[in-house]
């Protein structure tokens, strides 16, 4: 049986940035299990987000074409389990990572007990 594919949405008006992230992802061992979607404006982001339900989103949040407030409202209202990487091309500082995990009660209990820095994210495979 085929492994379920993980959909990744890269959103930025900047073509170099989008393609750069794509290249970085293409070096992952599990790249064949990823479906990479790209969006260059908020309309495309919202359409692909609601239609494809990406598991991972990489958003250039200072990009004026992305309209971060509109996107964040939609993201926070939506209940689907997704990880969000917020990157600003205008600033070279930290990247914000938001991991909305759905856990069972037992998993939540376990999560409260383990050291949090041992949590592995999807993007942290190297």
């Amino acid at each position: 049986m085929d492994q379920e594919k993980t959909i990744v949405l890269i959103a930025s008006a900047n073509s170099i940035f989008r393609n750069g992230i794509l290249k970085i992802l293409s070096k992952r061992k599990d790249f064949q299990n990823l479906i990479i979607e790209q969006a260059s404006d908020i309309k495309e982001v919202l359409r692909k987000y609601s239609k494809n339900k990406p598991r991972v989103l990489v958003i250039d949040y200072d990009d004026k074409n992305i309209k971060k407030k509109l996107f964040m409202n939609s993201f926070l209202q939506d209940q689907h389990n997704a990880q969000l990487l917020l990157v600003s091309l205008e600033q070279s500082g930290n990247v914000v990572f938001y991991d909305r995990q759905v856990l069972s009660t037992d998993e939540a209990h376990h999560w409260l007990q383990i050291p949090w820095n041992e949590n592995k994210s999807l993007l942290n495979s190297e």
């Binding site: 008006a13 900047n14 073509s15 170099i16 940035f17 393609n19 750069g20 992230i21 794509l22 290249k23 970085i24 293409s26 070096k27 990157v87 091309l89 205008e90 070279s92 990247v95």
Partner: protein, 215 residues
């Protein structure tokens, strides 16, 4: 296959994700060899001294004069044959400072990747390339340069004040530095603005560089 005719490229950008992504893209282009990348000039200069390249692609804050010196230095010391600004900066002052520092291309980061690759080939072949949206600025700068008013030459004292403005001094700091009152400095600045037909410090610096009276 990459051969000895490869264009040897070095990337400088303090945005790690953008830099690593660009590096991965360019590394796959035939005839491009990405020799290395760095997040700062200091780091880059050390590597380039050991390993000179054909082209440095760099992002910078051209408001900072020191950054212009970097491109001048690496060219003067033969650490690279070409220097290309790859930047989001679209202001006239940053553009002017970059041009003055002897760069061979000014490419905006929001260009398509194929355009950037094409520019790298053309610049390597000896052409000077500026992103299309910056061409209008370049033409305006050239027109203004030809309008240098030789009958309104700025005095030595005014030039001294203008240089201190360029170095970020406030009126009171200029006054202290030149042993003059703040009011006298304000009068000098008023005369400078009138002679240069400008209305603020930024415009005065811009024109000063354009006319060649500021570095």
């Amino acid at each position: 296959m990459k051969n000895e005719k490869s264009i040897r490229i070095f990337l400088i950008d303090n945005h790690a994700l953008f830099r690593k992504g660009l590096k991965a893209i360019l590394a796959d282009v035939s005839n491009f060899k990405i020799v290395g990348d760095a997040s700062s000039y200091h780091e880059a200069e050390t590597i380039l001294q050991e390993n000179p390249v054909d082209m440095v692609l760099f992002d910078t804050d051209f408001y900072i004069i020191k950054n212009n010196e970097f491109s001048e230095n690496i060219l003067k010391n033969n650490l690279t044959k070409k220097v290309v600004a790859l930047t989001f900066a679209k202001s006239r002052l940053e553009f002017l400072n970059a041009i003055k520092s002897g760069i061979h291309g000014y490419i905006l980061k929001d260009e398509e990747i194929d355009y950037l690759i094409d520019c790298i080939y053309k610049i390597h072949a000896g052409r000077f390339i500026v992103s299309e949206s910056m061409v209008e600025k370049l033409v305006k700068l050239l027109i203004e340069k030809s309008e240098f008013p030789i009958n309104l030459i700025i005095s030595d004292r005014e030039l001294e004040v203008l240089s201190l403005i360029q170095n970020g001094y406030s009126n009171s700091q200029i006054g202290k530095h030149l042993f003059l009152s703040e009011n006298t400095i304000k009068t000098h600045i008023k005369h400078i603005y009138k002679k240069m037909s400008v209305s603020n410090r930024k415009e005065a610096i811009e024109k000063g560089i354009l006319w060649g009276i500021l570095k």
